[in-house]
């Protein structure tokens, strides 16, 4: 009996070890970084070993498949623009977004900005993040990078803002002033997509701020309502901004990444038709941005 119990105990420990295995762990200047393998799935995690702090995941056998919901949601932005030539990504994570876009648009220039040098290193070593002449990663604060890019009069067709995780939000990347700076970097048909949250009191403040800077915007929210993607352009969208003609072509292009553009299209909502936050919501500015306090309430 005791022998049998021991056997089962041993087996169950073995299974649990096989289920999640930390293959790399380091403490960077900003956070704890964990790389965890669970069978075929490899995930980048910040701070703790719980499942809701995953930053980036990929399947080792199918590295091109987008595992994360929000990375798929981000692809809805492609409905509103021609092929992007110059792409700016703020917040690297595992580099999956950069890899996917480099594959999808081999002629595009991609700049990844990441505040944490350790994250760049981990993306290279464990997530197959690749760089070449047209795909670069820079270690800098996103706000500074954008300010310097403005001085150099740079323009981007697609700016992806992916610097937020559940634990901590950089307060200076959510303000009206920051969004105005980012807006000034957009090319004529340029699009800015932000991956943020849809829960908490922050929702209203964030929505009001985007609306004030860009005008009406599109958004997509995932099933469990935890992520939302805000999509804006330089002059503000109108109801007809969605280009349905793009759908069939995008569908063939994106299928291999596990993206179903039809269902994403159906989930999009437009603030010009539905605006679900109070009109008098206070805007987030460089003077007032207690976003981490608001996010907990």
């Amino acid at each position: 009996m005791a022998k049998q119990l021991l056997f089962w105990l041993g087996l169950s420990t073995l299974i649990s070890v096989a289920q999640a295995q930390v293959i790399h762990q380091e403490r960077s200047l900003y956070r704890n970084i964990l790389v965890e393998d669970r069978g075929d799935l490899r995930c980048l995690k910040f701070n703790v070993k719980s499942s809701n702090t995953q930053q980036s995941c990929f399947l080792k056998s199918q590295p091109q498949k987008l595992v994360f919901n929000y990375t798929k949601l981000l692809m809805t932005s492609l409905l509103m623009m021609p092929e992007p030539k110059r792409i700016l990504i703020i917040g690297l994570g595992g580099g999956t977004m950069s890899n996917t876009l480099a594959q999808l648009y081999p002629n595009s220039q991609i700049e990844n900005i990441e505040i944490d040098q350790a994250v760049i290193k981990v993306a290279r070593n464990y997530f197959g993040f690749f760089e070449n002449d047209s795909v670069k990663a820079y270690n800098q604060d996103g706000r500074i990078y954008i300010k310097r890019a403005l001085l150099k009069k740079q323009q981007y067709d697609w700016i992806i803002l992916d610097a937020f995780n559940g634990d901590y939000i950089p307060e200076h990347l959510m303000t009206k002033e920051f969004l105005q700076e980012a807006k000034a970097l957009l090319s004529e048909n340029g699009i800015l997509s932000a991956n943020t949250f849809s829960l908490s009191e922050l929702y209203a403040h964030e929505s009001a701020t985007y609306k004030a800077v860009f005008g009406h915007f599109y958004q997509v929210v995932n099933q469990d309502n935890s992520n939302r993607i805000i999509i804006v352009n330089r002059d503000g969208f109108t109801v007809n901004s969605l280009n349905k003609n793009n759908i069939p072509k995008l569908n063939t292009q994106l299928r291999q990444y596990g993206v179903d553009i039809f269902s994403l299209y159906n989930n999009m909502s437009f603030t010009g038709t539905v605006q679900d936050w109070p009109k008098n919501t206070r805007l987030l500015t460089d003077q007032f941005s207690p976003v981490n306090l608001l996010n907990t309430q």
Binding site: I115, Q140, I144, E171, H172, P290
Partner: protein
């Protein structure tokens, strides 16, 4: 401490929120406080009075104003001249926070001078002052970071601090004048 906390917020739009921002701010505050203690001590040896004490409060209040009124263009110039955000943030903290913090630092030794009546009790007086000023710093830190930033603009908070300092200064000067009148009688 309240100002120090806001410092991170004020610098972030130009110099980011990397760790070196806090390195710059804390360095400048420590440096200017240490010099403030030195100057305050020196000043207290020349006919110390409540009027001078109140004047230091008033000057501190005025020295804080540029943080709210001129920080934008000052930081813009620094951002344009210095490419490295470490040195940029260090210079910006120096320009914005050095002078007001030196002046605020002068208050501590000056208070000791005004309150100590005999060398026997000097240790106790200094102890009480440290107690009050450090406790005040703790309260300033928690109220600013937990509540004030949730309710007010940064500039409003700074103007609030300025008003409190200026009122304390005027109060000190008033008290010393009233006392002076009593002496004349």
């Amino acid at each position: 401490m309240g100002i120090e906390l806001l410092g991170g917020r004020i610098l972030a739009p130009f110099f980011g929120s990397s760790v070196h921002i806090w390195g710059s701010i804390i360095t400048v505050f420590m440096l200017s406080l240490s010099l403030g203690y030195l100057f305050g001590g020196k000043l207290s040896t020349h006919s110390a009075s409540l009027t001078t004490y109140g004047t230091i409060f008033l000057i501190a209040a005025i020295a804080l104003l540029p943080i709210a009124l001129s920080s934008q263009w000052l930081m813009e110039i620094i951002f344009l001249t210095i490419e490295d955000s470490r040195y940029g943030s260090l210079v910006a903290s120096m320009v914005l926070f050095f002078i007001p913090t030196v002046i605020l630092g002068m208050l501590s030794p000056y208070s000791v001078r005004l309150l100590v009546k005999s060398s026997n009790e000097s240790g106790q007086v200094a102890g009480k002052l440290y107690f009050i000023s450090t406790l005040g710093s703790a309260l300033g830190t928690i109220t600013t970071s937990f509540y004030l930033v949730l309710w007010f603009d940064i500039n409003t908070i700074i103007f609030g601090f300025t008003t409190v300092l200026a009122s304390l200064g005027l109060l000190a000067i008033l008290i010393s004048k009233v006392k002076g009148l009593h002496y004349v009688e």
